[in-house]
């Protein structure tokens, strides 16, 4: 490979009690790619995402992102470096509006510091105004703009997925980990959502996504990584992976 990988996972381990959810897993994600992560249920995909995002502390191994070692860093520092994740089960903030949910994800909003509220009120106002405009732009992209002032709890399952993506984009990330971004989203919207992701990729962002929708994985990903029992089983372009006998046996089925 010519370019060095954006994300490197090196021999990462994580056990819950006696179960080794992630077992010395190593993989790379190339910059400006859309990389898919597939595997049977319980293969450790979501656990790996949580470890990368800093929500779980790995038992061993290293994770490098953009030249920085990030394993052991708290999640907010990892977001600060430009790595954001979305949740498989949407973690919308139920009693806040959609717009509030998205504005919250902005990085470095000066009004979030208590002292700035009192000593730099003008900057706070200015900042907040800009972030709200930005949030509205993002909501237009994800087609949630007409729901901006509804409580997040009133959204449907698919809309909550879109809200997850909107929040991820708000932090202006270099790498986005998407945990089943289109599960529960209708086919037409799935298409436009993936178009959006491809467009954002052309703008220079990288996407690493878990997905069970094989249409999305096979047609939209540049590379696919297959996980099985906490380890990387196979890797390569979708066409190669699709015909790999071990993958067919463990995941795709004959």
């Amino acid at each position: 490979m010519a370019t060095s990988p954006l994300l490197t996972v090196n021999a990462v381990e994580k056990a819950f009690g006696g179960i080794r959810a992630v077992d010395r897993c190593s993989l790379d994600v190339a910059p400006k790619s859309i990389t898919g992560l597939i595997g049977p249920n319980g293969a450790g995909k979501s656990t790996l995402f949580n470890i990368i995002a800093g929500l779980y502390r790995p038992d061993g191994g290293e994770i490098w992102f953009n030249g920085t070692q990030i394993d052991g860093l708290p999640p907010y520092d990892i977001v600060g470096l430009g790595l954001t994740k979305t949740w498989q089960i949407p973690h919308e903030l139920r009693n806040l509006t959609v717009l509030e949910n998205v504005v919250l994800a902005a990085k470095g909003n000066s009004g979030e510091h208590l002292l700035n509220l009192f000593f730099r009120p003008r900057a706070v106002k200015q900042d907040e105004k800009q972030w709200r405009l930005r949030a509205r732009e993002i909501l237009k992209l994800t087609q949630l703009d007409n729901l901006a002032n509804e409580h997040a709890r009133t959204l449907s399952g698919g809309q909550k997925k879109l809200l997850e993506l909107s929040r991820a984009l708000m932090s202006d990330p270099t790498l986005v980990l998407l945990d089943e971004p289109v599960a529960g989203v209708n086919p037409a919207l799935t298409g436009s959502l993936m178009d959006l992701i491809e467009r954002l990729r052309r703008e220079g962002r990288t996407f690493f996504l878990i997905e069970h929708d094989m249409n999305v994985v096979m047609n939209r990903c540049d590379r696919v990584i297959v996980m099985h029992q906490g380890r990387k089983l196979a890797e390569g372009p979708p066409a190669t992976v699709k015909t790999d006998p071990t993958v067919i046996e463990s995941y795709l089925g004959g």
Binding site: A53, L55, P74, P75, Y76, V79, G80, T84, K85, W87, H91, E92, L93, R94, N95, L96, T97, L99, E100, V103, L104, A105, K107, N109, G111, E112, H113, L114, L117, V124, D127, E128, R132, Q143, L144, N146, L147, A148, N149, E150, H151, T154, L155, S156, Q159, R167, S171
Partner: protein, 483 residues
């Protein structure tokens, strides 16, 4: 295009009439009016009545400040504090020690009459208040520092332990706190002389307290509407998600908890100067913590206005129960008739006002709400004299039938949750009234006393009804529409 998600439940008040605010402020107004009337009947002078009312308002303000502190911690940030009384105690003692003059031990022969207390630094009030806030806020931060990293229950346990320990320590660390006697002669903000001293002092305290409360409401509202306040609410909703969105949730929790503790310290300082003396017993018992919980839950958590309204309402019930009991104690049974006439006049007046607004002026309420309001007014003003055993039993029965008639109409007309809640609340109120009448027949002088003793039961029943029918409190948290 994506269609708007269907809205469920009561969204916005139709017609824009702030019914809940109306009810809650009439209840507080009713408490004040009943308090005044009972004082008039007891033969109090106007100044005496105002002094008494001033005491109600200034203590309610102190509870409001406590409730605002708890609301910042729990209502906004979701941090449960089970030791409100502890931070309150710290504020009160720090302020008292800072602003009183030196109090050496008093020894008569071999007997220590008063052990004295630490310091007596005679500092200005403002300095004392600031020290109280710093001390209580600092204590909150120290307790929270280890506990916030653990599961939520540990914070509750740690704060509860702190409060209980502090109460025992203040009782026993005699040389510092004055022991069980406590700290006496905390100077009032302005020292008045003469017969009007207590009246003038009460008015001063209401003025100072009112100013503090108003300033706090403005500042807290500004803070909770700010991006900072938004992060607090996010932590409450889902801490893990907030962390994954790049916020240092630990730091926000610490800030909210320490600031809330500082507000409780401020309340303690206000308490010290309002009462003029401190002792560790009842004022800082765990019951204070529970009262503040009830105030915030009843008023509506996550809403500064709710915290303050809840404090005036719940402490108002407490105050009123004392008022009513004291009249019975001073043997004013003969005046019950006069009282009941006043109550009926008030009830009829309120009813006429509603009817006038409803039928003569523009219809501000839909029909169901109008009936509910009328039923509530009848219930409230019918139950109160009934509780005092003033009305003849037939009168009460007539009101009872009338109320249930309304209730029946409402229940048939609209089977909404709120309508039924109103009916059950009114019926419960009347049931309590009936119990009082029966009790009054059996033991004439026990009635006023029993109101005092079962006030906690009434508050408890209110809480249960509230939790069933309006879990978000009387004044719900408002949806923030960003432009």
């Amino acid at each position: 295009m994506t269609a708007a998600a269907p809205k469920k439940g009561p969204a916005v008040e139709p017609g824009g009439f702030p019914l809940n605010e109306f009810i809650v402020f009439s209840l507080i107004g009713g408490i004040v009016v009943i308090g005044i009337i009972s004082a008039v009947i007891a033969g109090a002078t106007p100044k005496g009545i105002l002094t008494n009312l001033g005491f109600y308002v200034s203590v309610a303000i102190i509870f409001s400040v406590l409730a605002l502190g708890f609301n910042l911690q729990w209502g906004y940030t979701g941090l449960f504090n089970a030791g409100i009384a502890g931070f309150y105690l710290i504020g009160a003692y720090v302020a008292a020690i800072a602003i009183t003059s030196p109090a050496p031990p008093i020894v008569v022969g071999d007997v220590v009459v008063y052990p004295g207390h630490l310091g007596g630094f005679s500092l200005p009030l403002v300095v004392g208040v600031l020290l109280a806030m710093v001390a209580a806020g600092g204590a909150a931060a120290v307790v929270a520092l280890p506990a916030l990293r653990l599961r939520a229950d540990y914070l509750a346990i740690a704060t509860l332990a702190l409060a209980v320990t502090l109460q025992i320590v203040t009782r026993n660390a005699q040389n510092i706190t004055g022991g069980a006697i406590g700290i006496t002669s905390v100077p009032p903000p302005i020292l008045f002389q003469g017969t009007d001293a207590s009246f003038l002092n009460a008015i001063t305290m209401v003025g100072i307290g009112g100013f503090v409360l108003f300033a706090l409401l403005v500042i807290l509202q500004f803070m909770s509407e700010s991006p900072w306040g938004r992060v607090l609410r996010d932590v409450r909703e889902d801490e893990e998600a907030t962390m994954a969105l790049g916020k240092n949730t630990f730091s926000y929790k610490l800030q909210a908890f320490a600031l809330g503790g500082a507000l409780m310290g401020l309340a303690g300082a206000l308490y010290a100067v309002t009462l003029g003396y401190l002792s560790p017993e009842s004022s800082f018992a765990p019951a204070v913590t529970f009262s503040v919980w009830v105030m915030v839950i009843v008023g509506g958590s996550g809403n500064n206005r709710g915290a303050f309204v809840g404090a005036f309402l719940i402490y108002g019930m407490e105050w009123l129960s004392v008022q009513v009991r004291d009249q019975a104690a001073s043997g004013l049974a003969a005046n019950y008739l006069l009282m009941s006439v006043l109550f009926i006049a008030l009830g009829v007046g309120a009813l006429l006002a509603v009817l006038a607004v409803q039928f003569v002026g523009r219809r501000v309420l839909d029909r169901r709400r109008a009936w509910l309001l009328i039923a509530a007014i009848l219930g409230a003003f019918g139950a109160a004299p009934a509780a005092l055993g003033a009305l003849p039993i037939g009168w009460c029965f007539a009101l009872f039938v009338l109320l249930f008639g309304f209730a029946f109409v409402v229940d048939r007309a609209k089977k909404s949750r709120r309508a039924r809640a109103g009916i059950y609340a009114a019926a419960t109120l009347y049931g309590v009234g009936w119990a009082f009448i029966l009790l009054q027949q059996l033991a004439p002088n026990a009635v006023a006393d029993s109101f005092f003793y079962i006030r906690l039961m009434i508050i408890g029943a209110l809480l249960i009804l509230l939790i069933i029918f309006r879990p978000e409190g009387i004044l719900r948290e408002k949806k923030r529409v960003l432009r």
